[in-house]
Symmetry: C2
Subunit: 147 residues, 2 copies
DNA sequence: GCAATAAATATAACGTGTTAATTAAAATCC
DNA sequence: GGATTTTAATTAACACGTTATATTTATTGC
């Protein structure tokens, strides 16, 4: 049996933890979870998205996103209005307060990325991205011949 | 600003999701979470570990592990006894029932790994492990010159 | 146009992630 | 050897992950 320390999911998780380790405290100082931050980032990049679109971009499931949006709306970091042409949809926008918070945190995130790039090496980082993208693609089971 | 789709933490997370996607349903059929499975695996490999040791090997925080062990003990998949030489410690062992469940699930996990290895390639998988280990090592901030 | 179906969100329920605080047992230090 | 500090484990509180279910609005079929 393969040894326990050669678990790919655990290694991926540890890598994620290591990468985020010095950044999440900044988020917590502003009362944000990493998931809430992902949503703010997505909205800052493209405003007025519906919930399903946000869930896709942020890799969140709808029940989680519902709670996150309720929370962010309560703190007036985002606003929600029903889409005029389809009342099932809710269009979410980042508020000026939300954008202001984003502007505080974004440079800290950039600094973290710069440090990682410097320590690990730009080329290796690119290679890692390529490998991960390929792994995701090839292992994704929506390409039949499995099960 | 770096585009959102080039988020390293999210890419790592998606890779983990992709790798586990076809395996977690097997766990759920037996009422196990991935974290509970990690604990069973660790105990099957080395029995009678204390909680702190398990937390380390399984990359779990103690509060999560406490709940997991309470759950697994309630289902008699593991047993707990205080360590004789240090009553603060609890030694956890996998029960015969736990081992039996392990023996059912382990081959399914192996099959998943084999499929991934075959689709992604052995060499690339090894390279990915190396890169991830190096990333974790170099980015881990317990090596000073940071903050 | 109206019933049946599909789609977008939201709720419910339970387990985990995370930080802080608590309890109980060693270990340390005088 | 008794007070202080450390350590192992638990509990508390709140947010997220996940599956199943419910609700509301669009769409489809007839």
């Amino acid at each position: 049996m393969r040894r326990f320390n050669r678990s790919l999911p655990m290694t991926l998780m540890k890598a994620r933890d290591a990468v985020m380790k010095e950044f999440t405290p900044h988020l917590r100082e502003h009362g944000l979870s990493t998931q809430q931050w992902r949503v703010l980032r997505a909205l800052e990049e493209d405003n007025a998205l519906d919930a399903t679109e946000i869930a896709g971009r942020c890799a969140l499931l709808m029940p989680s996103l519902t709670r996150i949006l309720q929370n962010l709306e309560g703190r007036e970091l985002v606003s929600r209005v029903p889409a005029k042409d389809d009342l099932r949809r809710t269009l979410v926008s980042i508020t000026p307060e939300g954008r202001q918070l984003f502007d505080i945190i974004a440079p800290l995130q950039e600094a973290r990325y710069d440090l990682i790039t410097q320590r690990f090496g730009y080329g290796k980082l690119e290679l890692l991205y390529e490998l991960l993208d390929e792994l995701i693609d090839k292992v994704d089971d929506d390409q039949a011949d499995e099960e």
